[in-house]
Symmetry: D2
Subunit: 303 residues, 4 copies
């Protein structure tokens, strides 16, 4: 079984590396070729063009956004025309439900299979095979690729038979994470201005009712004011909230917290660019309370 | 050491019961006396008036709001004038920072001690001694009451020396919980209208990045549309958000998600009264999306 | 000078009628032909296809949205290919800045002129020539069409040389009007529940600091709960807020009131469809306050 | 008929001056006495204490907030105990509905009359007798004081028989004004970042559908970034929104735009203090869009 992987950012590299480390050969590709070098050393075959993917049975894609995936699949030299009949495209990117539905359709028309498999987890989790995957698509095909997915993720969940369902669920999940970030930001500003060490407050939260890595990791980054380098760039968070709101508009669903998050991301990117980690929206609550940024005011030593 | 407990709602009864079950005698009191009957059977002495608390060394209070606690402590026949010098008042209610500061001061003037010890957890957790306590006050006094607190809670956290710090931290914590409720409500409306079973979506969340009872329990209640009987009434949730916003106004801290929650609680209580569980605000997102209430449309069997 | 008019909804019919009544012949067209009958009686020539517009020097378009205008201009049989070199396209629809820029470009490439001339005013104002026009485009061309515009509007304002500027200004203007509607809705709910007749309150407003027809007309409709037939349908208001927010996203501008309006429109259309007048979003504040809809509770007699 | 006036800020001084200029003698008082000097020169009698008001038939009060009015009326040496039976207290301050109801009651118990007469208009309008007054109270008493009110305002409106009605209506009116400010701020940020001169945009608005001094005056201040000296200080605007939200909470009315305004005022006062004009909240939209403050980037010459 020939396996391909397209999109070698930090997430994609980690995921492809997991596939490789289990002995499988993997044909890898990235638009800017230098990103493939680490995987080449690990034994991957580096494709020179998307044309090379004609030989794969299963291709994974992990790209930044709709546009990147669209051009990779549907562009002039896209994989849609190169993949054989019967090939499986496993799309791990967080993309719009609209594009997901369109890819489902065009791959089917080409006699190929499309699986949506967006993931929860940051680059370090990808590296360690600890992602969570949300799967949707044809159950027979899902069964077929299950062993591969098990190398990438610590756990997979099937949400339905239509790939668009995984796309919607992933956007809703990212919305919940962004809400955690914003609400931690507001609560830290509140306790800090009230004379409480936000570290101590976070410790209570994560040792009691919010005892889960998500709150711990984002909480620590926010309290430390550490938003760079980004694990997940603000510009991508903004993109996901936009996709959520667009889908919400199509489906006619008001989403007031998402609207608020949208304005936070716009403000952050307008003022600071989109290169910070998306958790930097939490710093806006600090600023609005008239507090100094936390990086300037605190030193928590060599931890 | 004589121990007293005032305020025998579902939370207070559970907590007093834990104290009793460890062999300690407890003098209990509730404004409406019949609520004391269960504890009487368990061995508690039932006070006939607050005057009886003259003999206790430590008195716990667990009351609904500022007004109830104020009248219990500062009223004509309040405990402030009855407690001996050196007595300790452990206040477990979620009350305003202002009242917390005032009680700290008046107890000190009376030669008494005031400890703020608000709790996280619902009535069943109180019954089982599984609450989390946030403590603030004089460290020597905290050390003294530590064994008692260990019977009530699974864990205690000291946030500072000033009782008001525990008050602020507790309000911030409740704000975070209410945010979880609202964001789950919005995300469930989104996935449901997008053709996904919200149960399946919740399962993914709580088996992956939100693997914590708070998301599980509230998530299940929301998906099932089960908001009655209340574990924590909407009118109390509304009160806590009001106290948070008032403190935020005094401290000059904008809290946009809290403002949104305020409007949700007002709408819920204006339309349905305040007797539902506070998680019922999540049903407003369902309603706004034009979906039928979940109780009417789903039957999940005899669970 | 041959004049054409495409798009004969209530607004377009009123505007074309004004052109006709000043003695000019007008070639009119609507996708569903029966809407042209009133103008035919008034003397207009009814085109059978867009091909007929090859003879006009100036063509006005007044269509519902981007899609309608796009297909009319750029579609297979669109006017772009029929209009002569030198022809002027005056676009009065409220459309996206993106489409405005695109039409500017393609008309220029075809040797034609594109003027953006969106209008403020409802169908009755169109009928009476009392619209306000925001103009942007080549100043020489604007000077040339000025006499025609004077028949349509009570006043015109040039905002710049780039058509996109009129498009942006119009969206910002509609945002301000929608804000008026929402804020009136909230204030009426407030005074009404406080025991004040909202009519009396509105009277004070519009006889003092808000002495302008916009507040009067919308205020009266809201107080009377009269949202049908629509002067401007909610689905169109929703569209305009969407275009505003999309432009705001491209330009990186948070717009918190606009986000709130978006959620109001989504809720209204999800619950009641989009056929009511857009001022019906004001009824949501009434509903949220637990008040009965105003139409059911008040009788203002035979006015 | 003896007339008194208490509270000689810029608003009060203007109003008292109007009463004086019509030939009436006026007994004036301010807590800090130097503020009375201009009126003394104009012929006013300056009271040395509130005790002096024992001789007046009608006393006007124009004070900053609840606390100031409360101490003036109900304090140890307050006017409640000095005024004769039958005296009329005309309260022009914007205060809470709660205090309004309380004053109505205590004055009635003292055999005195209480009229609520809050005003719309800024200091220059007060000086010129161009205020608008919202009146509520006993109709016979209103008839009696009507000639005096006609010197102060260009027009008066009776909203009801209960003073609290004027209080509620005034808060709702101020909410509408603050909404205008915020929405202009957002729209100016939008057009400016889109390449349009906000002056030109404002001109269109105020020469067409928003042709009313309120939009003109605030719009010009916002476009010029001129927020100092304040006509109405941000800290007072914040107070009014707080009173509105508190009344809304008591009456159970969600007010989403008001919630948003609350956060704007808190941010402004946390970051810049409360001394700027309340229209300075409009500068936050500019800041959030990543634009420079308008004062730094524009020079509109010597106007």
């Amino acid at each position: 079984m020939n396996i391909g992987f397209i999109g070698l950012g930090r997430m994609g590299t980690g995921m492809a590396s997991r596939l490789l480390s289990s002995g499988t050969n993997v044909l890898v590709y990235n638009r800017t070729a230098e990103k493939a070098s680490a995987l080449r050393k690990q034994g991957a075959t580096v494709a020179t063009s998307l044309h090379d993917f004609a030989v794969v049975d299963i291709v994974f894609t992990m790209l930044a956004d709709d546009r990147a995936l669209e051009s990779t699949v549907l562009g002039d030299k896209g994989i849609l025309q190169h993949l054989c009949s019967g090939a499986i495209h496993v799309s791990c990117s967080t993309i719009s439900p609209d594009l997901t539905s369109r890819l489902t359709q065009v791959h089917a028309q080409a006699g190929q299979h499309f699986i949506a498999a967006p993931v929860f987890g940051r680059p370090d989790a990808a590296q360690e095979g600890k992602l969570f995957l949300i799967l949707a698509g044809n159950p027979d095909i899902l069964a077929q690729i299950e062993p591969l997915l098990a190398r990438i993720g610590q756990r997979s969940f099937v949400i339905g038979k239509e790939p668009v369902q995984a796309s919607l669920a992933k956007l809703a999940g990212n919305f919940l994470i962004a809400t955690v970030i914003e609400s931690l930001g507001e609560s830290f500003a509140f306790v800090e201005k009230g004379g409480i060490d936000p570290h101590a407050f976070l410790h209570i939260l994560t040792e009691s009712i919010f005892n889960v890595p998500l709150y711990k990791n984002y909480g620590e980054a926010i309290v430390a004011g550490k938003f760079s380098p980004p694990g997940f760039a603000a510009v991508l968070g903004q993109k996901d909230i936009r996709l959520l709101l667009q889908a919400g508009e199509t489906l006619q669903i008001p989403l007031p917290i998402a609207s608020l998050l949208r304005d936070r991301f716009l403000r952050l990117t307008a003022q600071s660019g989109g290169d910070l980690d998306w958790s930097a929206i939490a710093s806006l609550a600090t600023e609005d309370a008239g507090l100094l940024p936390r990086t300037q005011t605190m030193d928590h030593g060599p931890d």
